[in-house]
Symmetry: C2
């Protein structure tokens, strides 16, 4: 064997967390971005869209967590085929690194159909499992030089190519665009857009009142008429021709697309898989971040689009 | 520049979290251990002790987080000098990798004197800062192949060399030894031992009752007569000649030495820097892990020793 003093010593790395910037000019400052995606189904539109992001790809690392179901296996295969093409293709399009995690727990529902997913009684278990998946992905991929985390669902099939820069420019700890969906409007006889994600909101007295009367393990959910919260929903405030840089404070955020400064997660903000102030997953995350003195913000007139099943 | 197809493609890594074992035979299964240490002062006894751990060092990664204070700078220098010696010394003693993080926030107290540290009114801010330091270290160093996390304070100067194996052998998600301190007993005219860490406990009706009457941001703290909790303290249950493998369930844990399966953290359990069920830091961690269905355990007759100032 090689004598001790001729072997390379193991790596010692020294990081100053305070010299890691997360600024309004992330490209200029060469700030690294993790795009983290819990992925149950693969959508070609998602991949095509991230390929078109014009944030320097050598500053982007991708991370996926995929369930161990049959659907998850198919999604993994489809994802790997696209990765192989991209990472051996033009250098400018290649990402800095890619991590694929296979989940070590079973998802609570086998069906990924929208109607089944959105049933109120299925939501708590489903969103707890999603929260756990996000946490596994986060705890496993965040490194000492990570500056920003872009949470991006696998069914977000259209964003502006400047998504990362446009969100980062506001220099907020947590910022969320408005998640809409394209659909065919029969009345108009034309394509149209409509709100998709209702998890970005400003709290209401009614919701707080509901929460105060709930059992301590019950959760408030948005978008169910059985449980009217009268929160101010960012989805409803969109002005399709309004200023895309107009910004508002939020108390809850959705995670379909969500930019977070790494320091927020590093301080401990994660996605509670248990009721936290009667909130769970991304909405619970915003609440937890608030406990750590980080405010969430939303861009009501800046849009990303969810796949239409 | 080199043509695209002649450059090495960027790394793509695929991890199956469920094939990562954390077993009662971690050495046999080549399971990786992170030793994570928040470090405000460097103690030679700490370094000498970890050097003597007989868990294979090539399976151990070390991680430190150090405040940016003057004391922190001195600790960093002392640590780096020891690292340089160890990592260029005999191969068997070298650790797999070492990460040093410098904190990006200021500690709330400048003084590290024990009497100042332990004042009740200083504890909440202090332990919140400690929790945040632990979270930064955890979120930044945990990787996809991490199996176990050994939290070890920088002033733990004596453990059995088989510490990791002895704790892991019980195959529990969270397990804590009893943290004692050696001192000169004047009455006996000889060296003796006494309890040091009171954060490992079984909950009591009294404590729950106290908690239920507290303001929602107040915290319960152990070891202060102003706030008698009547919890069952593991520190008081030690039998110095008892079976070191005797084990008990716990509701709160201390973090001076604490072995955790990585999956517990990956699911989202961190060190709450805010009151969580009126608990904070390592005690809050045990409560949060419980919410994620992980039970904590303690070994009342298995000892590690805290430095005596
Ligand atoms: N890893 C993992 N990802 C999931 C799971 N369920 C859904 N996802 C992904 O998580 C994101 C949000 O889920 P989705 O079903 O689209 O939620 P919805 O649009 O709010 O109904 C999408 O990227 C899904 O592909 C799961 O059990 N495990
Ligand atoms: N990074 C960091 N470490 C700290 C800080 N304060 C204490 N520590 C370390 O955290 C551990 C526990 O703190 P210590 O003061 O020993 O707590 P005590 O023994 O419970 O009074 C020790 O390893 C300290 O060196 C801090 O502000 N930042
Ligand atoms: Mn979706
Ligand atoms: Mn100590």
């Amino acid at each position: 064997s090689v004598p001790d003093d001729q072997r390379a010593p193991p790596p010692v790395v020294h990081y100053k967390l305070d010299s890691l910037t997360t600024s309004s000019d992330p490209v200029g400052n060469r700030e690294t971005v993790h795009i983290l995606t819990p992925l149950a189904r693969f959508y070609q539109g998602y991949w095509d869209n991230i390929l078109n992001l014009d944030y320097p790809h050598d500053l982007i690392s991708l991370g996926f967590i995929i369930p161990k179901t049959r659907e998850g296996n198919a999604a993994t295969a489809a994802l790997q085929a696209e990765i192989a093409k991209t990472q051996s293709g033009p250098e400018k399009k290649r990402f800095a690194s890619i991590t694929i995690l296979r989940q070590d727990f079973d998802p609570p529902l086998q069906s990924q159909d929208e109607s089944e997913r959105h049933k109120l009684e299925n939501q708590k278990a489903r969103r707890a499992a999603m929260a756990q998946a996000r946490n596994s992905l986060l705890f496993t991929t965040l490194g000492p030089s990570s500056a920003w985390i872009l949470w991006l669902d696998s069914d977000i099939v259209e964003t502006p190519p400047t998504l990362i820069q446009d969100l980062a420019r506001h220099d907020k700890p947590i910022i969320v665009p408005n998640c809409y969906q394209r659909y065919y409007n029969k009345d108009k006889g034309a394509m149209d857009v409509r709100p998709y994600d209702y998890n970005s909101w400003v709290d209401s007295g009614t919701a707080q009142n509901l929460a105060s009367k709930m059992g301590k393990d019950d959760i408030l959910l948005e978008g169910y008429s059985e449980m009217a919260t009268y929160r101010t929903l960012m989805a409803k405030l969109a002005d399709l021709n309004g200023d895309p840089s107009s910004i508002m404070s939020l108390d809850g955020v959705g995670g379909t697309a969500l930019l977070v400064k790494a320091e927020v997660h590093r301080d401990g903000a994660m996605f509670p898989p248990f009721p936290f102030y009667h909130l769970i997953e991304t909405e619970g995350f915003a609440r937890m971040a608030k406990r750590l003195n980080y405010q969430s913000y939303g861009l009501p007139n800046y849009f990303v689009y969810h796949y239409n099943e």
